[in-house]
């Protein structure tokens, strides 16, 4: 850009209704020609006040609110919330429950990355990749539907474990999916990774150096694409992730392509973990037996009066949680998903706060996108995989 045009900067409004923002996000751009000088994100269009609503619902009901925050990977949100409440209650989840949580979260990660891949490829102009990616994601949603009856807002994780054990034949369908998926992964890789249009749109675009990424609070695949090997599953392991062997894909370029490639390889690693869980799934209960914070076993309900009382209290009044505060975080598909819960000893959370990765990634966008073209801004925004549901909460 020549010096003469510096006086003619243009302020352009992008969004809130814009197909490339994957939700309702408004960006106020300061442009010089087509070059982005500054971005001011304006959020809040999807604010639903879930944190306020959670204060008036029992812990068990709050689970159904959580998966609505990040609607592309609801399981991860339930996971972090349940871990935080379990910390306060001191519940140890049985091993089978922990393994199922790992299995489901990894499937959810693949599904979420596939949504990301499909929509990003669509933004950049590879429409066929969208269909391939969503075809595979559909199979995971079918698996989840067989598991808990829901396709998007699962509420499958509950405090103390998971709601149901695997239905009959589910393991086999999961193995079938993983077998198909490894072939589909190669298909997607061949379709996208060496595509000259994809490469020219992503290589060297939106570079976020590692120190800037840490200063911006970027987590998850976007941080690992900047060369920081930080993955909570390895570095601060939870829920028996330390029983499994997997690698953390790390790229050093920090550009849009690196963020793409980290996610692609993460899907393979997630599939690897799924195989290990399926091969080593221990027998036993899937839910802890806590005197009041878990529902009684269903088969006791027609034999034992105490179990009926416990069942009634659990589902109507809820269960009290000892006073205190806890923060639990899991490695979600987008980054660190954390829940901060303050309890005053009653059946409802006194304060529930979600640490959502997308919220902070939206504000890291100006750092990555400054100096690029408006057309590249679309690709950079997509590469951070923001879900506006959890940005606005």
């Amino acid at each position: 850009m020549s010096q003469q045009t510096t006086e003619t900067t243009l302020t352009l409004n992008m969004g809130p209704q814009h197909p490339s923002t994957h939700g309702v996000l408004r960006l106020i751009l300061t442009l010089e020609g087509e070059t982005v000088l500054d971005i001011q994100p304006v959020i809040g269009y999807l604010h639903t006040g879930i944190e306020k609503e959670a204060e008036t619902k029992t812990y068990h009901k709050v689970i159904t609110l959580n998966d609505r925050l990040d609607y592309v990977s609801g399981m991860t949100n339930n996971f972090a919330f349940c871990l935080a409440v379990e910390k306060l209650l001191g519940i140890e989840v049985p091993l089978r429950g922990q393994y199922l949580r790992v299995l489901i979260t990894e499937l959810q990660r693949i599904a979420s990355h596939l949504v990301w891949l499909g929509t990003t490829a669509l933004d950049i102009g590879i429409m066929s990749a969208f269909f391939y990616a969503f075809r595979e994601r559909e199979k995971i949603l079918d698996l989840f539907e067989a598991l808990c009856g829901a396709r998007l807002t699962y509420s499958y994780f509950v405090v103390g474990g998971v709601r149901y054990d695997l239905p009959e034949g589910w393991t086999e369908s999961c193995r079938n999916f993983l077998r198909d998926f490894s072939a589909a992964w190669v298909e997607l890789d061949e379709l996208i990774s060496r595509n000259p249009i994809w490469l020219s749109r992503t290589k060297g675009i939106g570079i976020l150096p590692s120190d800037a990424a840490i200063a911006c609070g970027v987590t998850g695949p976007s941080l690992r694409a900047s060369g920081v090997p930080w993955d909570l599953r390895k570095t601060l392991p939870y829920s028996s992730y330390n029983h499994f062997q997997f690698d953390i894909p790390v790229e050093t370029d920090g550009d849009t392509f690196a963020r793409y490639w980290v996610r692609m390889r993460e899907m393979q690693e997630s599939a690897k973990i799924c195989h290990q869980v399926l091969n080593n799934l221990p027998p036993g209960p899937v839910m802890a037996d806590h005197p009041w914070a878990t529902p009684p076993p269903k088969e006791l309900l027609d034999k034992d009066m105490e179990a009926v009382i416990r069942h009634f209290l659990f589902y109507s009044r809820g269960y009290p949680v000892p006073p205190g505060e806890a923060y639990a975080a899991v490695e979600g598909a987008r980054g660190e998903v954390g829940f901060y819960i303050v309890s005053d000893g009653s059946e409802k959370p006194y304060r529930m706060h979600m640490r959502s990765p997308s919220f902070i990634h939206v504000f890291a966008l100006p750092v990555a996108a400054r100096g690029h073209l408006v057309a590249d801004l679309v690709a950079i925004l997509a590469s951070f995989d923001t879900v506006l549901g959890e940005v606005d909460r």
């Binding site: 306020k52 923060y327 304060r351 706060h353």
Partner: protein, 194 residues
């Protein structure tokens, strides 16, 4: 079953053991940082150091907050601000608010929670954007949701609600079912759900 200790290719320092041993050492590292900090800044800056549910919490005076945070970032390796929020303790009396910061250390692999008590008559905390640049949206959210003023913030506008919005929704006296035109502070919530 391959019992694999995590963190192979991640950081230089490796911890032995797994499960509960590993968990306690995470607390231990946070505690070491907290106690080291206390010896530097003194009792009057850090009024309390608590360990609860394997998490270390420091109660910090508002005047010492910026010094504590910059020391933690520069000398103790807490490079990342993970989260910042607030809690309204309306029924407990003054100081009514607590502003909560969650820090993460990538090099020591541990977390620390910093809390600042703020009275409702004097509800402000200093802006920490110069220490942690990503604090800006969190601080705007604290201002928007709780009405705690952020002193020194360059762009302190509402973030999740709109500019004309009255009141601060996450305060405990803000009604759950609010309609425009209604009061934004109510005496007692009438919400017996169960």
């Amino acid at each position: 079953m391959d019992q694999q200790v995590a963190g192979q290719q991640t950081t230089g320092e490796r911890e032995e053991g797994e499960g509960s041993v590993k968990e306690s050492s995470v607390v231990q590292r946070a505690l070491t940082a907290g106690e080291g900090l206390k010896t530097i800044v003194g009792e009057e800056a850090i009024s309390d150091l608590k360990v609860f549910a394997d998490e270390v919490t420091l109660m910090v005076n508002r005047e010492a907050l910026k010094r504590v945070l910059s020391l933690l970032k520069e000398n103790f390796g807490f490079a990342m601000l993970i989260d910042a929020t607030a809690v309204d303790w309306l029924k407990r009396g003054e100081p009514r608010f607590e502003v909560v910061y969650h820090l993460l250390s990538l090099s020591h692999r541990t977390r620390l929670r910093i809390k600042v008590a703020v009275a409702s008559t004097d509800a402000w905390v200093p802006c920490i954007c110069d220490i942690y640049p990503n604090a800006s949206p969190y601080e705007r959210e604290i201002w928007d949701m709780f009405g705690i003023f952020i002193d020194g913030h360059k762009n302190l506008k509402r973030i999740l609600t709109y500019e004309e919005f009255p009141g601060h929704p996450l305060r405990k006296d803000f009604p759950l079912f609010w309609q425009p035109g209604e009061p934004v502070e109510v005496e007692e919530e009438k919400n017996d759900e169960w």
